[in-house]
């Protein structure tokens, strides 16, 4: 039993480490930094100036929202790549042919992305404080840390789903990218949810990160456990649904590919 558990842990962490290092497609610190901060940072500034032009008087809402969305670089794009690139790099057949248990193989892909996403926000927030002179005097640090950890985890649900989609389609990356950009609208990053058109607001509620970002904004304003507990519970529930759906979808695709041999020929 203990030997079996040890094997599972070893498999989980080896998968996590190797998939993070090799399949996230960065080979130098420079390419890591540009892929992590390049688009998100400049997109944030772009939205700030766009907001300034149209008369949106709260640029800090956009700045904080975009920083809190940074874990999607790992949770959505990173995990999607680490799953989809298995086929791209020709390793899919070996993976599907191995007798290794699927749960650690699949879920292990998230571990270092969660850590990385969390550290990214931890680095970006103080930098934003310095650049934009944001006042975090009232911040509830413990709640903030809880929210950030949760945000880093909850983005992975979408990543698991989109990773499986990229196994099914050669244009999976396009779908992932489009979804990632739609999140700029739908989860309260640039525009407060209550100011979205009526037909979009319910959609936000079904997406991961919406409640997490709202809870984090409250924690930054000093809110305590009682004020954010329901939001965090909702966030955990939504994330769990997405993760279970992503894993189930992967198993279904895997099973279908074993009978039809279609996965590597797409």
């Amino acid at each position: 039993m203990i030997k079996r558990l040890g094997h599972l842990f070893r498999l989980y962490f080896f998968q996590a480490w190797f998939s993070y290092r090799s399949l996230f497609a960065w080979s130098t610190p420079f390419s890591y930094a540009t892929s992590k901060f390049g688009f998100p940072f400049f997109a944030m500034l772009f939205f700030v100036f766009m907001g300034k032009f149209v008369g949106f008087l709260d640029p800090m809402f956009i700045v904080i929202g975009n920083i809190l969305m940074m874990p999607t670089t790992n949770g959505l794009y990173g995990i999607s790549m680490t799953i989809g690139n298995e086929r791209q790099f020709g390793a899919m057949s070996y993976l599907l042919g191995s007798p290794a248990p699927r749960a650690p193989l699949f879920l292990g892909r998230a571990f270092f992305h969660i850590l990385d996403g969390f550290v990214t926000v931890l680095v970006a927030l103080p930098i934003a404080m310095l650049i934009f002179h944001i006042d975090f005097a009232e911040v509830n640090l413990f709640m903030l840390a809880c929210c950030l950890v949760l945000l880093s985890i909850t983005t992975t649900g979408l990543g698991f789903i989109m990773g499986t989609v990229s196994l099914l389609s050669r244009d999976g990356w396009m779908f992932t990218n489009t979804l990632g950009q739609l999140l700029y609208i739908l989860i309260g990053v640039n525009i407060p949810i209550e100011r979205l058109p009526g037909f979009l607001q319910p959609l936000s509620g079904y997406l991961p990160m919406t409640r997490g970002i709202l809870a984090t904004r409250l924690a930054l304003g000093g809110a305590g456990w009682s004020e954010v507990a329901s939001l965090l519970a909702g966030e955990i529930l939504v994330a769990a649904v997405y993760m279970v759906f992503g894993y189930t979808l992967f198993r279904l695709v895997e099973r279908a590919s074993l009978s039809t041999g279609s996965l590597d020929s797409i």
Partner: protein, 263 residues
């Protein structure tokens, strides 16, 4: 001579067009991403009570965004894709200069990207019910032509400069949004701090775009507009010369040292 030149152009652009049209990724760059950015602009405006989006910046600006994103991803990958797919040696070995092939490809990339602008104009006319009656038509035509020239010059410049290293793909992340940010694709350049406006002066797109935005708002062809056209032309020419210089370097890199494929 001219017939050969035209035939090469048509063949190159034909192949390039097929690659662009058959790629969902290109379509996302030309249409989806600009539409999302435009929607963000509209929703931000709506959040502060503006029911109608700004025609020039929020609607047509998305078209510019699509043209630029399309160009930056397609042109920067052209030579690199040939290297990856093993066709670079065949092109370099043929009597047609690589420069000419890249030039035609960049031209098609820009023309394909212009569909993004067409989509933005269609959206302005049919979705938002805007009228273009007040625009300065000759000014718009000249400015748009200069914008296309500026984009082409930057396209061939980027295609050559980014062929130098396998890591150059990462520069794309440092090009797409910063240029959009600095050149004022979806807001007037005056919104930016002065130091950012100074940096943006080195990009020909900024000047072409500024004149296009002015002409769309109905500005007359006065000395200020003509000066900006001349600056757009001059800066584009500088990029063209730089592209020629880099093209020679890349060519030497391939033919004399044979190193490009091994990078």
């Amino acid at each position: 001579m001219i017939g050969n030149f035209l035939r090469l152009g048509i063949r190159q652009m034909n192949v390039q067009l097929r690659m662009r049209v058959l790629s969902l990724w290109s379509l996302a760059l030309f249409f989806t991403q600009p539409a999302i950015f435009s929607a963000i602009g509209m929703l931000l405006a709506r959040a502060v009570g503006n029911t109608r989006p700004d025609l020039v910046y929020t609607v047509l600006g998305a078209g510019i965004m699509g043209m630029w994103s399309g160009l930056v991803f397609t042109s920067t990958y052209d030579i690199r894709a040939d290297r990856r797919e093993g066709t670079l040696e065949l092109i370099v070995g043929s009597p047609t200069p690589l420069r000419r092939v890249v030039g035609f490809r960049s031209l098609l990339n820009i023309l394909a990207g212009s569909t993004s602008m067409l989509a933005a104009v269609a959206a302005a006319l049919f979705i938002f019910d805007y009228s273009f009656s007040g625009i300065n038509i000759p000014g718009v035509v000249i400015s748009f032509s200069l914008l296309l020239l500026a984009l082409w010059c930057m396209g061939i410049f980027l295609a050559n400069i980014l062929a130098w290293s396998r890591l150059s793909g990462t520069f794309v992340d440092l090009l797409e949004m910063p240029i959009a940010l600095l050149c004022g694709f979806m807001y007037p350049i005056s919104v930016l701090p002065a130091w950012m406006q100074q940096i943006s002066a080195v990009f020909p797109i900024r000047w072409g775009l500024e004149t296009l935005q002015d002409a769309l708002k109905g500005s007359l062809i006065d000395s200020a507009l003509v000066n900006k056209w001349l600056i757009a032309l001059g800066v584009s020419f500088v990029y063209y010369l730089l592209a020629r210089w880099f093209d020679r370097k890349v060519h030497d890199h391939i033919r004399i040292t044979g190193e490009l494929h091994s990078i």
